[in-house]
Every structure is written in C-alpha cells, then in structure tokens.
Symmetry: D2
C-alpha cells in the first residue's frame, strides 16, 4: 500500500490533528439543506438488511447476530413472573453481535496500513477499543446529506434481478457512465450509494451457506478513482456488498486485499458504509427516474468501536 | 389496567388485522414533507446517549453493553497476524447488549396487559422472538416526521441544568403549558420529544452506581392525556428517561407500574422511544427559540426483537 | 414416544417428588469407593474436547464458543493501562457460548415428550430457566464413580483410527460384545462411556464445515437397551458424539428423532453426557487392556441451565 | 515486583522451555495415588459457587454470567415449534460470561510483571488469546492430587459462621498453625485449599451490591511464604475469595496490589484457583476431623484463555 499510495492524496492535516470524522467534515449545514432539496415525494426507504438471529451474510471469522428473549409472555403463562402492579407485562431481549455483522458504518481507524491510522495516529490507538477515531465520533456527528444512488447492477445488467456478476470490478468510469445513464449529476460533497445487487443473492441462493465475500462485485482500486473521490470531496461511500470494494484485486500483477480501505479510510478519511439493502430503493428509482435523495444514517455511538450497526434512511 | 382502560381509545382494528406499526401509520409521505418544512438552518443533533462498554443507565435486570475488540493493531505488533496481501490491516469488534440498554425504540408488543398485545394478538406471539409486532417492523417502516421538543425540564426549572426533580409527574397540562411557553404549536401527527433533564443526571452524579429508574420524572397516566394523544394522532413519544412515563404511579390510590405502556403501546399502537440525549438540542432550542424539527429515527431491524437501539437524528 | 415408552420403565417416583438428579442417586458413597478401586496406575485423562473460539462441532442452530480478551498485555504496551501498584499486570477474558456447545452434561429436563419432564413436572418448568431439574442440581451432586469404556469403534473396526462408519446403530448386543471382547465386566451402577470414534472426525476431515450431527454413529433405541440400562441402574451414559444416540432412527418403520433422550432422560432420569474426547483414553486402554476407571465429572452449576460444560477426568 | 522478587525462587527453566503447566508438573501419577489414599468414606463435595444469571461476586469490570434459554417448552406451547419426529422436545441455552466470573483456574500467563510471563515468554503472547500458557493447557493436564483444607476462618474465629474479618492478612505461620490445630500434615506436592469464609458473605449480606474484592481476607506476601510454597512443591493454591491473596497489601510501607500473583503464577508457575465454595466441606471436616482429601479439578479447555470456570470435586 505504501508504494501504491505514494503520490496519492491524503487528508491527514486538513481538519486538525484531533479530527476523527474525516470527510464527514464536508457535510456542513449547507450540505444538509442541499440534501433536503433532493426530496420531492416524501417517500422513505430504510436501507438496513434484516437482522435475523443466527443467519446473515458475514465475513468469515464473524458470526451472525444471536438474539435471545430475556423475558416474554411465557414467564407469565408458566407462572414464573407476575404482572407488574396494575397489570402491565413486558418482554425484554438481548443480543450478541459482531458490530459489522449487519449494515454498518466503519470508523476511520477500522483499516490502515503501515503503523498509522487515519490522521497519522499510531495504530496502537486501536488496541482494546479505539481511543482515536472510534465509530462513536461518526455516530455523534451523524451523516446527513444529498446522496446519489448509482445502480451499476441495473445499468450493466438489463435483466432482473439486475445484478453484477460475481468478481465484477466497478471502475470510476462505470460510476460515471451509470450516473450519465441515470441522468443524475454527482455534485461535490454528495454521498455515493452504489448498488451491485450482490447482497440480495445471499437470501435467494443459499441462505444457510457461508457467504463468499471474496467474489462479491465491488469497486476496484485505481488512481483515478481515488483522486476523483478526493476532488469531489465525497464524505461517504455506501454499497450493497460486504466491503464496498472487491475484496481481492489484482493491481500491477499483484494480489492486493481491500486496497481502497487503505486509500479511502486511512488516507482520505472517507467513510465506508457496507451491507446496504438497496433493491427496493433501486426499483423505485428505476420507475420514477429519480436517483438523488436525502440520506440520514447515524451509526450507534459505540465508544471505542471500530464499526457500528446503522439503519440508514433514504428520503426521496 | 383492564379497568383503567375500559373506556379508553383503542386502535386495534384501525389499520388492518396484521398491522405491526400502529400509530406510525400516521406518518405518511405528506408527514415527511411536513417534517422537512420544519428545517431551517440544516443543523443536526444525534440523540443517542453514549454507549460506553460496561457503564450506562439501565433498568435493573439488564446490564450495560459489553464491548470487545475481536482484532486490533496488537495482533500485528505481537506478531500474531500478518497484514493482508498488499499491506492493509484492520480491527474488528463485537458486543453483548441488552437491546433496550441504550437509546432505543420499543416494539408494539413490548408491553401489554391481559393476554393480548397490540392488535389483539395473543401475548404468546412474544415467546422466544416476537412473531407479531417485532421491532424489525418499525425499523423497516422508519420514523420520519415533524417533531416537537417539549422541554418541560427547562420550563419548570429556570436554573441550570434545567431539570425536573426526581419523582415529578408530567401531565397533559404541563406539556401544553410548555408548548405555549415555547411558542410552538403541536400539530396532528407530530412526534413528541419530551425533555425532563433526567438522563444527564446519570453521568454527573454517580456514574458507577445503579441507576434508580423508579424515581425518574416522567409522564403520568390520565384519561385526558391518553385521549389527547389519540386525538392528536401522535405516532411516537420520545423522552430522556428510561420509561417515558414515571415508572411508579398512584392512580385512584392504587400503585400502578408503567400504565402508559399499556395505554399507548398496547391499546393505541403509539410507539415509545426512550433514553434520549436531549441536552444539546434543548440548549440550542433555548437559544434560537425554535422547537420543531425533522426527526429521523430508524431502529435496527432485529427480527423478533422487542426493542432495538437507535441513534435518532434531529434536523433543525 | 408415548406409544413407544408405554410399557417402559420409569423412575419418576423412585427418589421422591422433588428429586432432580435421577439415576445419579445410584452414585452412593459406596459407589465412589468402588470407583476408586478401579484406579491402579494413577494415570489421568481429561475428556473434554478443545474449546476453540469460533470453531467446533455443534448442532445446527448453535454456534461455537466465541472467546474475547477483555484485557491483555497490549493495553500496557499501547499505553492504555498502567500496571497495578507494585507492578503486577494481568489479562482477562470473556466468552459467549452455547452451554451444550462443547463437552457437557444434559440436565434431566433437557429433553422430554408430552408435556411432562423428568419426575412428572410440567414442561413449563423449563421456561426461561429450569425451575426443576436444572443442570446446577447435577453440578451440585457431582458425578463420581466407576466407569467402563466401551470402545465399540475399535471393537468393530480393527483399522486405525478405529471408528464406526457414519449412520452405524449401536445395539445393546454391541455394547455387551464389546465389553466381552475387552474382558471388562459392567457392574450395577457403573457409568458407561461409549467410544464411537466419531468426534475426532470433525478435526480431521473438515474443520470449518458444519458438522453433520445427523449421520453420527450412536446408540439406537430398543426395548432391551432401555430395560437393561434401567436394571443395571446405570447413572450416566457418555459418548464421543453429539447425542449419545443416533440422531435419526427408524423404529417400526417410523422415523424418530433422539428417542433415547425421551427414554433415558425423561423416563429413567439417566444422565446423558456428550461430545467426549476418548481417543487418548481408548488408545491407552487398548495398550494396557484396562477398561474401567474412576470418572469424576462435575458440570458447571448454571442455575436454571438445561446443560453445562464439563471437563471430565478419567483416572486409571 | 522486580525488587521484591529479586532473590526469590523461579521455576522458569525447571520443566523445559515450552512448559505451560508449571507446578502442576509436581502432580505425577504417584501424586494421584497419594491423593486416592486420602479418601476414606467416599463422600464428595463440589466446590463451585452457584452460577446465578445476573448475580454473583465478581471483580469490578466484570459482570456476572448472563444466561438465556435459546429454546424451552414455551416454543411448543406457543405453537412456535413442533416436537421432533416421534415426539421428543428439548430446551437449549446459552450464556455470556467472564471466564473468571465464577469458581475458576487462572492460567500461568494470567498475571505477570515486567514484560515476561511464566516461563520467560514475552507478555505479548497474551495478546488476543494466550499463545503460551493458556488455561487449556491446565485443562488438558487436569488437577488431581491430595489436597489439604486449611480452615483459617474456623481456626481464628470460633464463632459461626467462622469467618476471618475483612482485611485480615493470612501468613505462612497462620497456615502452619491452622494445620497443626487441625492435626493434618502438609506434605510435599499437596494442593492447598484455604478457607477464609469470605465468599459466603456475598450471599448473606448484600446479594445485589457490588462485591468489595479489595477488603477480602487472604494470603499476604512474605518471603517466607513464597519460599515455603516453592520448597514444598505446592502445585496449586485454592481459596474461597476472589484473589487467594489480600488484594491490597502493604509491603515495606508501600502499597502493592496482588503481589503473590507475580510470585506464584509468574515466577513459580504455581496455579491459583479462586472463588471456591468451602463451607460445606469445612463443616464436614470440623465434624469428622479429617482435613485431607482427593481433589479433582479440571478447568474448561478454553484455548487461548487466561482463565476458565471449574467445578472442583473434593472426595473424602
């Protein structure tokens, strides 16, 4: 990565030494107002995938969320608890989860290369809880602005369910061509929401199988892409796959794993947000031809966390 | 509760037998547009309290979120893992949490009386995962609309930090007087966000002590309040305490625990959303005199869940 | 099961209405002394399988134990914690686990048929924590006595690694023939430890695949077997597979799942203990020809638990 | 600690460079046979404290075990699951636990000083799972031998419930005097089980309060004690408190926290095992005057773990 990113842009000093939100700084009050202007009908879409106890597409090494009722009606019917004074009864629940095991936002210290994370801090700040650039900082800031859906899956595959084939690389040119075909303009400070169609495959094909994250279609690294994202001052990129980018890429004949995590998160402070559910929003956009919207996405304020679940809302 | 709510309003048949989102049905596309009109500056506030591993105000019986790094920079520096091909490294984390152990949204089957939950379904639907009216239904719908902050704490206590005393009952009249003093109009279908000042006490007074939920100030049950909420078609009530209402109440000389959970959630399908952080929003409103805003709050889509964390966003 | 077990033996009234340990009552102080007599060399074997974070043979629906360091040396080297006064440092850890996700003991209310568990209590006693016949009762009693290893795998398959083929049914006759070939006598009140060779297959064949519990070799239901176990006053049966018995069995042309769980646990109060590691003990026994030993196995005293991990110790 | 232990004994090279079980090496087959000779009646005692979901004496920073039923009879009675083919039903459960949150065995890399753990390995071996000296090594070995109960609580306090006062230091002399008064001889390679009476206080005094580990009575550091434990080749010391030793000690006018963890675990490889339930065993011993027994204690084989639960069995 050091060699790859040698002449690449960096935002480490741009927003002060202690900055923890990176390119989210591009999201000003004005950006919020710009985002609002993208709303016409008032139609909303929630973009988190379902959280199903014990099932879901997760990276190897993680497990799907485990959900347990700590209390429910059976404790009353089995005579193990009495209703509260006056008669109210209640249920309660708990969960064990990988914080990136569903739709989520990555913190800016989630991925790095060398021994420095975003902002130039030591990667030792990540040890047993991020003391710099945790996901709570992003949750505190909140992510609100104009977003553009780039339905690359539908643009490149005219047949339902409009998906990119496994292993497909998405280039900057693909993004731009898609935008052009969709007749939507990408403006400075816009949030990019990229639809590959990939995540829907999980439920349709083999719901109980381990999800093969490595072959998902996604962005591929190029100098042009990194520079463009920087120049366009993109605050966040979201997508309906596990890693935004193709996990395994070939660059100059060399295999590189998730290089854009190094370029975007560590060097530019661009926030990545993954595992979106975009099929409903995309179908609606295909129908009305409107591809921009207000995105509101505030991850949980998990202090020290490297990632946190989010249920993003698109308002058209 | 049966006696108390005998002549009280019910919305069980209003939106069909299979409805799971209750009064959120009042939030139409038009409501969304109405909510947008409440935005002027584009200023945002995120309303979740901090999620601090091992610490936080929770009801007795629950424990604060437990956060663990599954991987961080130390695995590389200790020589236990190698960077990915190309050099990228990453951290990963997991958590065990009570789903109502931070700012959250209650599902419509979270609380009930008798043996029926919202919609008239058997309370056995809650057993080991809500098969009716789970929180995922609310997460799927999303909560977007005009909200009004009612800063009862500041209205009744002119001294910083502008809090209601423990054990204070908030009546319908208190809400109305507060709105009047704030010069804000509560319209039909508005979301109510009630500030008591209570939750901030947790961090200031005894961060490690068990939080005494029972003495928190909150709404108190009255027929007038229940009827007004129904007639105003309030979709959701949020507050900066653990239960929206005062946990222990005296009604006609009898002690009743969380009766409004029965009246609002079970009978009216009004959504309750608890443990908000409102002090920053309230301070800003006190300064600019603007008490309405767009609220966007989409809880995690935990299938079968009775509650789910949320990081609500207020946009002024 | 009702029909199958119609004329089968039951121990429901044998040790009093409130009994929670069933056939463990056969393990008297005298049995302990008998067990001690089986020791000659003083050689010990621990019979739990390894608990590997994120990996292991578990029934579908369960997940392998998830292990996290809550603290380790990296918090000191990263400057995030100081040594205790005087200089001592320490590590700490936590785990999320299915209680039957490793070598474990089943409680006597773990499996049942009809609506009564062992002792004739309502199966509603299991709701949200066993109030009758929990695993803590077995953990409190402890399991100490003479045990006999029946290495059916080695008896029926003379080639290393001496395993039964998948889907093999083990009959009473197989047990008796094995004992005879091993020249070991099964006495009244002996604990039976049955080696199929199955569990070792998990690590050798496909460590990351989901374990196919359904095809494991194991005991198969027969009236003779149930009666013999009753007459021999067997307190506990352990084996190196997930269910002691073959999970899917054909009885009189009908498919029946884990019927011996109904016959042994519910009707006789015979304790089942599963997922043992027996290959080392068995190899040693094959060498010295000694197949009886003192078994000491005390599951964790999880109150309300239906099962609990155990690391059994065999002393020869 | 460096200064304190400057001339103190060390066992780092005694059992080879890769040794992970330390003083458990003293437990030979002969020791097992010696242990068996301590049995006379065949009476057993299980020494784990109860594991109660959500309650228990734990060090600050840990939480008591959280236990959940993943399935129980209510899923059948609520019509959410059908009995298995043939009619068998079952319950299932899971838990989140700190591995040292109940009666447990510490691994030999659990505590250290400087930057080396037991055996001279780098403390970086503890990072995200002990790669050296994990608790699984102790679970694999098993702990079986003659143990001596030293009921210091009863020796020093003749009144029920025979407890040491908070803050009491136990010296080598106290141990020896207790043994003498009990007329029991401590032999080489004996396991020491020290009763303070402390842990029982938790349930009697304030079951829901946070347990004050700092004031528990326990061993106090002295050169004589450390040397004696070394010369006596003690493999393991267990006690009914959270840390074996007094947590906060004054040595030469300086406050030192858990110094014996440094001396015993790190330097000598002596295993510590904590939070025992000894009141029943002690009462029995007070009655029959017999203070030695066979101890069998095999912690769970948690790979990489720094500690693991155990339900030790004493056989008299």
């Amino acid at each position: 990565m050091e060699r790859l990113q040698k002449d690449a842009p960096s935002n480490w000093s741009k927003w002060g030494e202690e900055d923890q939100v990176g390119a989210l700084n591009y999201l000003s009050e004005e950006s919020v107002l710009t985002g609002l202007k993208a709303v016409s009908k008032g139609r909303t879409f929630t973009l988190q995938i379902p959280m199903t106890s014990g099932s879901g597409p997760v990276f190897p090494g993680r497990i799907p969320t485990q959900h347990f009722m700590a209390q429910d009606a059976s404790v009353y019917s089995a005579g193990k608890a009495e209703a509260l004074a006056g008669g109210v009864k209640f249920s309660d629940d708990a969960a064990f989860m990988y914080l990136q095991g569903t739709t989520h936002v990555d913190s800016l210290a989630h991925a790095w290369y060398g021994d420095q994370v975003y902002g130039g801090k030591s990667d030792q700040t990540t040890v047993h809880g991020h003391s710099h650039a945790d996901v709570a900082a992003l949750g505190e800031k909140g992510i609100v602005g104009r977003a553009v859906l780039l339905d690359v899956g539908r643009y490149q595959n005219k047949n339902a369910p409009y998906r990119l084939a496994p292993d497909t690389c998405i280039s900057l040119r693909d993004l731009q061509d898609t935008a052009k075909a969709q007749k939507v303009k990408i403006n400075k400070s816009d949030i990019l929401v990229i639809r590959t169609g990939s995540i829907a495959r999980f439920w349709e094909e083999e719901p109980d199988a381990e999800w093969d994250a490595n072959t998902e279609p996604g962005l591929c690294y190029s100098t042009e892409l990194v520079n463009w994202v920087d120049q366009m001052e993109i605050p966040m990129i979201a997508a309906d796959n596990l890693a935004i980018e193709k996990v395994v890429q070939e660059i100059d004949g060399e295999t590189v794993i998730i290089p854009l995590h190094g370029a975007f998160i560590r060097d530019l402070g661009v926030v990545l947000s993954e595992i979106y559910w975009l099929d409903d929003l995309a179908a609606d956009s295909a129908e009305d031809g409107k591809y921009d919207f207000l995105l509101v996405a505030a991850p949980l304020k998990m202090e020290g966390g490297t990632g946190a679940p989010v249920n993003p809302v698109a308002i058209k």
